[in-house]
Amino acid sequence: MSEILVLGDEALALGAIDAGLAIAYGYPGTPSTEILEYIQRYTKKNESEIIARWCTNEKTAYEGAVGVSYAGKKSLVTMKHVGLNVAADAFMNSALIEINGGLVLAVADDPGMHSSQNEQDSRYFADFARIMCFEPRNHQEAYDMTIEAFQVSELFHIPVMLKIVTRLSHSRSVITRKESLPITDLGTAQDKLKWMSLPALSRENWKVLLKQQTEFEKYSVDSGFNKLTINKAYKKIGVITTGIGSNYYLENLEDMTHKPSHLHLGVYPVPVELVKKLAENVDSLIVIEEGYPFVEKMLNGIINEAMPVHGKLDGTLPAYGELDPDNVRTAIGLDPRETQGSNSSDLPGRPPQLCAGCPHTDSFHALNVALENYDSSIVTGDIGCYALGALPPHSALDALLCMGASIGMARGASEAGRKQVVANIGDGTFLHSGVTPLIDAASTNTNMTLIIMDNSTTAMTGMQDTIMTSPMIKNIVLACGVNPEHLKELKVLPKNHDENTRIIKEEIDYEGLSVIITLRECIHVVGKIRGEIK
């Protein structure tokens, strides 16, 4: 037993370590990145035999974790919420096989979109796959639930989701650590029929999973993380909270004259029995949940239709963005706290921007000049620091969708008849999911220009090494079928600006597929600073 100051992500990581983790795989993405980073630092410092690796993308990471489970050891796989979309094929099908070594998927949602392009709620994915999900509300729960999630995974032979959100991922607090369990080896899974996703077998395995649902729900009902408190003296309203929604409720509770009956949910599937018990004791309900109105929508089929339900669907709480102590305070009918004054309303915003001296600045500058005489050019962007090229002073991008989409979208726009179509992607994102659309474009020699901005790192998430070093990227591009005469490498320095601009324009004018790799290390790569584990 020891006390330790950690980020929410790190509490989860320590939980996995102390549960007897053998291997962790992941792909960096805010706010999930610090989970795997912590395991890497821990392993190095303690000379542990745990393996912790970044993978090419979330799908390869997930598949690796399934392989570890098959072999009989515990595995953790980490990603952000939108990363689970990439891993979804492996994830959904892994629910139908008989998990052997415990497999825990740690997925970090980003309500409020601090560093993401949507705020999708991963609990839907857990429900979609019909598996169990743990949702911690504080650091100790992140630690304790992760240990329990591994046990549940091995108990029910299912992958288990551990869902965390930005405000917990990136909050620091103290946890009490338990004794660390050793790495165990259960031996390779023996029953092939439970391990092959073939239609005839999957039909049987699906029935097994559906039959297990009542056991999962019973587990939820009995779990100490799902807590029901009834106040028989006050019936007017009952409160349901999920995840960190409960923190904001508890923050305001002391100011409430009557303490309502309260059900907190941290383990899913939703324990219907507990919800019914709460509903029997109150005249109306308010649902305070971080994320989508997942439980709120489900209530329809559980409680009496006539009972009023307040939450995100009726506007009692905002339908989008994060919960906070103030919007929850209003929702439960309390007046706002008195403040010293209001904020100045006329302050200009200060949006994030590319760092001074960033190589991407030179790439965007050259691209903008190369395109200045065309009035209908299209530039598609991608996910990474260079998405900031969309903002002034560059304003270089016209469309941006998801990881790797710059290339596929450029191909489509070009085939739809548009000229001067340019796709813009970083080296990390190209390796993540840009290679396959490049094969598409090369297969038809589509008239477009791909600029791979190679800064030799995964910069946005904190300088993780890319899965492959710079010289290899050129080989991959050629192997995709790109004409070597139209593969150019440019060193992006201000002194090369005129020459670089000329080459970019030449390749844009070429009627066919060109690839330009702009090279220069991220300014942070050399001086990257790593925190040490205390």
């Binding site: 706010p31 620091r172 102590p325 706002p336 004054g341 302050l347 994030p352 946005m460």
Partner: protein, 200 residues
């Protein structure tokens, strides 16, 4: 002597807001406080506005975020940024800001106007952190000057903060530790109740 402090830390990505939070966290723990400290990573760290919530208490803390009207102190590395968070202050809360602007946007407002708004608050202090950091021996220690200024408001032992600074910069050598400790002392003095120019 309070047993609970809510502190808003603000500035611009790269100004060392998270290091301020780290030092205060370590020191608060040494003095037996529990804490929650919420910060931002990722895209917002790229030269954008940065906000961290720091809550220290002798009892349980429910929320990672500080409610509006609850902060004892807003501590800002940058004057314009401080004015974004006035509504977090308690009616008796105090705003402390470094004097120098960080001008990485084209429409930065008139600095005198910003300083005037800060001075017009019920309790505030503007600190020439750059000059004090220079006096301490390194311009990089502006944030430790601000740690010093903040420490004058808190019931945390000075020795605990000094130890926290030593732990935080331990790997960077004697000279850096010395400069940061000097910056801390100068900042602490500049926000003492006796210092000139206080509008308390």
């Amino acid at each position: 002597m309070a047993d609970k402090y809510d502190i808003i830390l603000s500035g611009v990505g790269g100004q060392g807001v998270l290091s301020v939070a780290a030092v205060i966290s370590i020191a608060a723990m040494k003095d037996g406080y529990t804490l929650r400290q919420s910060e931002v990573h990722g895209m917002s760290q790229r030269g954008g506005a940065v906000l961290a919530h720091m809550r220290i208490s002798k009892t349980t803390i429910a929320s990672d975020l500080i409610p509006k009207g609850s902060a004892d102190v807003v501590l800002s590395m940058e004057p314009m940024e401080s004015l974004r968070y006035v509504d977090f202050l308690k009616p008796v809360g105090r705003l402390i800001s470094a004097a120098a602007p960080y001008e990485n946007i084209p429409n930065y407002p008139d600095l005198d106007g910003i300083h005037e708004k800060i001075n017009n608050l019920k309790s505030s202090r503007i600190i020439d952190a750059k000059a004090l950091a220079k006096e301490a021996g390194t311009m990089k220690a502006v944030n430790m000057v601000m740690v010093g200024a903040l420490s004058a408001e808190l019931d945390i032992r000075k020795e605990s903060i000094i130890e926290a600074v030593q732990e935080k910069f331990g790997s960077k050598g004697e000279k850096i530790i010395k400069a940061n400790l000097a910056a801390f002392e100068l900042g602490r003095k500049s926000n003492s109740k006796k210092a000139d120019g206080d509008n308390k």
